[in-house]
Symmetry: C2
Subunit: 273 residues, 2 copies
């Protein structure tokens, strides 16, 4: 079955974080419909083994294909790191992750060839950003740092709180000391800390938001494949949200970052896929 | 098969937190052997549904029974809240949780009948401490508060850090304002913040550590059932650790809180049980 241009884009994440990627797709490709899946029963992926993350990703892709999506965005850094290469060849629709687009822009933007990456322990431990960046330009030095308190701070809503300002300073001082000129926000929650991080790092450091870069790359890919939506039907709500467990926290977070209320989320037994 | 007094005690948690309970058993019942299971593939339980947490608990109990344990401690507040009543009658060995022992001591100790409880969102949302406390004494007023930053702060090792001192103040001011005289540390990670929390709350507030109270209750229960260990054989290392996914973080945390190095952990496919 050949997907058509009217079909939605599938976006998935281990939980709520990928909504920042969905948000950038909504902003930058407003004609596209989205089916979002948050794997809230198995969140977080950051501390799971590669083998499990690949299995989870396959199950979710099967579910999204059943929803007739025309392309899939893996809006999760850990799943992009562990599963993208495995699944890209297994399925015959375009699949993209959030790591390559961010790495590509960072490689273009850095002048002194010192790039910082922040993310979860899983993402930083995988060294995936460094391996992409080195492939793009072997002269780039990559400094990675896990920032495990950022996700819970975002989820508390303490985006500009003095506690968060202090934690940002604690985690990021190293990047100032080492004079990185480009910093990749390598976790889907982190764009919500963008202004607090920007104030600490200063104007001379370019912050790369992979959610935004991924939305642009998705647009280019859909155009190339002749899959760009001709426009949404007005009568239908173009965004659908699915989760694998309890939806309350998901809805609260979605409502705090999306420009409208997410009323409907449907729970799916993802282990069946 | 009747368990014998030489058999180990089974202790399980969603991850590393239950090690604080294992530690209290080691300290207070030094003759007992322990088989510990950390469900690191499915951690955390705090945001999972009741149905899933019961299923996970049953699987782990089957695994522990295969290890011939004589009694089981559910060293996880969420699993104690959701699964203890379900599983206690299904299996014919003693099973105890961490919530009842803490609630019982809090009900005995409070003078002004105002008890505070801190824990994960799942535990606090379940209202389980309040329901135990009200059953013990209907006059007790229970004030619960979720403190989602405490676990990642503990896992960062920032136990006495200025950031942690500030977060403690932010979360716990409400308990001072409402003049609780007893505060239950209702998450297995929180005893590691005990001194920082105690400094903020002051000497007049009794902090209840359910890990300690559970170890005492386990001792009383084993004595009553004539299952207290007659003493460990000296040639054997008396503690065994199992996990359901990657063991590195588990070992690091275990080594930071236990009085010896945990070298050996074994990975189990818990979905098979």
């Amino acid at each position: 079955m050949k997907p058509d241009r009217d079909a939605p884009v599938g976006v998935f994440d281990s939980g709520v974080g990928g909504l920042t990627v969905a948000r950038e797709i909504m902003r930058n490709l407003p004609s596209e419909k989205i089916v979002y899946f948050g794997d809230t029963a198995r969140v977080p992926y950051g501390n799971k083994s590669k083998e499990n993350v690949i299995r989870y990703s396959r199950q979710i892709i099967h579910f999204l294909l059943e929803q007739r999506v025309k392309a899939i965005v893996i809006a999760c850094n850990t799943a992009s790191a562990f599963a993208l290469d495995e699944v890209r060849d297994e399925f015959d629709i375009p699949i993209l992750g959030v790591i390559e687009p961010g790495a590509r822009v960072a490689a273009q933007e850095t002048k002194n060839k010192k790039v910082g990456v922040i993310g979860t322990e899983g993402t930083i431990g995988s060294g995936i950003h460094a391996s992409y960046l080195k492939r793009l330009n072997p002269e780039i030095t990559v400094i990675g740092k896990a920032c495990p308190l950022f996700v819970p701070l975002v989820e508390e809503g303490w985006l500009h709180d003095p506690v968060t300002v202090e934690v940002v300073a604690r985690y990021l001082q190293e990047f100032k000391d080492k004079e990185v000129d480009t910093l990749i926000l390598g976790c889907t929650h982190y764009p919500l800390l963008r202004s607090t991080i920007g104030e600490f790092m200063g104007d001379s450091v370019r912050l790369v938001n992979p959610a935004y870069e991924t939305a642009l790359e998705l647009g280019a890919l859909l155009k190339k494949e002749n899959l760009l939506s001709p426009g949404k039907e007005q009568e239908e709500f173009p965004y659908r949200f699915y989760v694998s467990d309890l939806a309350d926290k998901f809805k609260a977070f979605a409502n705090s970052i999306l420009p409208y209320d997410v009323e409907m989320t449907k729970k799916i037994d993802i282990e069946k896929y």
